[in-house]
């Protein structure tokens, strides 16, 4: 029996239906730049202070991130173009309204937009059910208004979530949730109605924790290459997902862009890679794998002495 919150059944990665990505790829790679706006004077949240360094405004923290939109993003876009890397932008959707040039640059390149909430200073933690429902309406409408497209997935705004989040996401028609760090493959997330999957994002292969907690660009490149190489090897048995999570205010810095390019060059030097997006991974999984995964998990639960334990 799964443990609370009963969202995910246990499925050991060595005993699952095989995932065969399009074109026989071993790794589905999605690159997720987080394009964000942190408010200068956000509404007060009872549980979380985005700007703890000084009484507000906190212009250093604000400016560091604002740099990403004014300068870093544009340098980063060139690197994506040069290596023809597809992007799934984890977007604070109000960026469409504040900075239309950024929206246009993304749409011009047919980048996929994933919701990262409205602002990175508006959290889901303390919202009531109705407030959170209204939040998804806003996200879906804003997406439709600016792109003409349906919203497919979300990484919670500033990685905030509530216990109801998966249910309300599915209710709003979203397909995938990126806040689950528990796997190297998509996994069904149990919701009250409809279907939802996790598409693995990364809090490890992510420039924010890497740079803010001790390491620098060389380590980030070494991590990314090692991550890719291992998943590429294992992906021969069954497809894996790799996410590269970055922020323009960090990887778009003049002294870091060559490191990002080194990572891009490394993945581009391998053939069996599906250069894809969060939404495409989710759709593929829903169409080809979801039912098998659910059935297999039920079988593992039902067979206490299941024979499959030795498979590896």
């Amino acid at each position: 029996m799964s443990l609370p919150p009963h969202r995910v059944d246990y499925l050991p990665i060595v005993d699952r239906p095989r995932i065969e990505w399009p074109g026989g790829a071993r790794v589905a790679l999605w690159v997720a730049p987080n394009v964000e706006h942190y408010e200068y004077l956000p509404p007060r949240d009872p549980q979380r202070n985005p700007w703890p360094r000084t009484p507000w405004p906190e212009v250093q923290g604000y400016g560091y991130r604002d740099y990403g939109n004014r300068a870093g993003f544009w340098r980063m876009v060139e690197a994506f173009d040069r290596f023809e890397i597809r992007s799934t932008v984890s977007l604070n959707l109000a960026v469409f309204e504040h900075y239309p040039e950024i929206g246009a640059a993304m749409l011009e390149r047919d980048w996929e937009v994933m919701s990262h909430g409205i602002y990175n200073t508006r959290y889901l933690h303390a919202l009531s059910e109705e407030e959170e429902r209204e939040f998804y309406r806003d996200c879906v409408d804003t997406m439709r208004r600016h792109t003409g497209k349906a919203l497919l997935g979300m990484l919670g705004p500033a990685v905030s979530n509530s216990s109801r989040t998966p249910d309300l996401m599915a209710e709003a028609g979203l397909l995938y949730h990126a806040d689950w760090m528990h796997d190297d493959q998509p996994v069904p997330i149990r919701v009250e109605a409809g279907r939802l999957v996790s598409v693995p994002y990364s809090t490890e292969l992510n420039d924010v924790p890497v740079f803010l907690q001790h390491y620098d660009s060389d380590e980030f490149v070494a991590m990314a290459k090692a991550q890719f190489d291992r998943l590429y090897r294992e992906g021969e048995q069954s497809g894996r997902v790799m996410c590269l999570a970055i922020h323009p205010y960090l990887m778009g810095m003049p002294h870091r862009i060559r490191h990002l390019e080194e990572i891009f060059a490394h993945v581009r030097a391998h053939d069996a890679v599906w250069h894809t997006t969060g939404g495409e991974i989710a759709r593929f999984f829903l169409d080809h794998c979801y039912d098998d995964f659910v059935a297999h998990a039920a079988r593992l639960q039902a067979e206490p002495e299941g024979k499959a334990q030795d498979a590896r």
């Binding site: 029996m1 799964s2 443990l3 609370p4 919150p5 995910v8 246990y10 499925l11 050991p12 990665i13 060595v14 005993d15 549980q47 979380r48 959290y123 933690h125 303390a126 919670g156 990685v159 905030s160 979530n161 509530s162 216990s163 989040t165 806040d179 689950w180 760090m181 528990h182 796997d183 190297d184 809090t203 490890e204 292969l205 992510n206 924010v208 924790p209 907690q213 001790h214 390491y215 380590e219 070494a222 991590m223 990314a224 090692a226 991550q227 291992r230 998943l231 294992e234 790799m242 593992l300 206490p304 002495e305 299941g306 499959a308 334990q309 030795d310 590896r312």
Partner: protein, 303 residues
């Protein structure tokens, strides 16, 4: 109680003993270093019971978030779903027996994984009920006994035998823990990172041996708390093992290496473990063993 100013320890769990004053310890077959690798399978609950003690900064995730902290909780879950298989394969590939500290919630709710560990021949250590329910002095004696009993029962049901060893959840204890573990039939305890050899603990019932974990090579302490670089960690493990191995020519040494699949089992980290194990296992007089075999050898040596 504050310390009394007298010779020896300021508690009764074990006697003071300076390593050079001990008789030489001889491992079987002229081995110089016993390597005991413990893989931690710890479940971190989304909603721990009210009153559970929580570390101020539990590991995992990105930074402390209000509950439910999806990032941290699912990061910790990665070990059970994915990382553990990489770690166990790395141990197998290098001929290192796996000791698995498995908490009761894992044993009870991850049946496939528990049976898999048993089938692979892993030695199971008691590891409490959950990482989110560490044993501390805030726990009543009755609660602590119940925690130990549930842990022992869950592993007994799973493997057919009670666990010989114990590693506390979050390596935490109350002042009662060693006594209660000995009463429950536990033979060895790994929580106190204070020695390079096993030593006898002082208990009223049974016979309890300390197999001290080595804190600095612990993956969480090195890679998460101290944020060492991965290459530096691997080099440190090899250097520590090499020096202990060489010192072990005079009197045998022990290295207890503790590993968390959610951490060292990440795709980009596992290669560092593999290379460190390859180097350590190429030492000429290395003995990689199950905890209970190390305890047997230590006690057979008359200690």
């Amino acid at each position: 109680m504050p310390a009394e100013r007298r010779h020896g320890m300021d508690h009764d769990h074990y006697a003071w003993s300076a390593l050079p004053t001990r008789p030489a310890l001889r491992w079987p077959d002229g081995k110089q270093l016993a390597l005991c690798v413990i893989v931690l399978l710890e479940h971190y609950e989304w909603e721990p019971p009210e009153g559970s003690y929580g570390l101020r900064r539990p590991s995992g995730g990105i930074f402390p978030l209000p509950a439910p902290d999806y990032l941290r909780l699912t990061h910790r879950e990665y070990g059970h779903r994915v990382g553990v298989f990489r770690v166990l394969d790395a141990l197998d590939a290098n001929g290192v027996p796996a000791n698995v500290a498995m908490d009761a919630l894992t044993a009870e709710h991850y049946g496939w994984l528990g049976r898999h560990c048993v089938q692979r021949g892993c030695e199971l250590l008691g590891h409490g009920v959950a990482a989110s329910r560490p044993i501390t002095s805030r726990m009543s004696e009755a609660e602590e006994r119940a925690t130990i009993a549930r842990s022992v029962e869950a592993l007994t049901r799973l493997s057919g035998a009670p666990p010989a060893g114990w590693l506390g959840p979050e390596c935490a204890e109350s002042a009662r823990t060693p006594q209660l573990l000995a009463e429950a039939g536990i033979r060895y305890l790994c929580d106190w990172p204070n020695d390079e050899q096993p030593y006898a603990m002082t208990v009223a019932d049974g016979e309890l041996t300390a197999l001290p974990m080595f804190l600095e090579t612990d993956d969480e302490f090195a890679l998460w708390t101290r944020r060492m670089s991965l290459d530096d960690w691997a080099a440190m493990v090899v250097e520590a093992a090499t020096r202990l191995h060489d010192d072990g020519a005079d009197s045998g040494r022990l290295l207890v290496l503790t590993l968390r699949p959610w951490l060292i089992g990440q795709p980009f980290r596992i290669g560092a473990l593999e290379s460190a194990l390859r180097a350590v296992m190429s030492l000429p007089h290395i003995w990689a063993a199950r905890g209970s075999d190390i305890v047997d050898a230590f006690r057979t040596a008359g200690r």
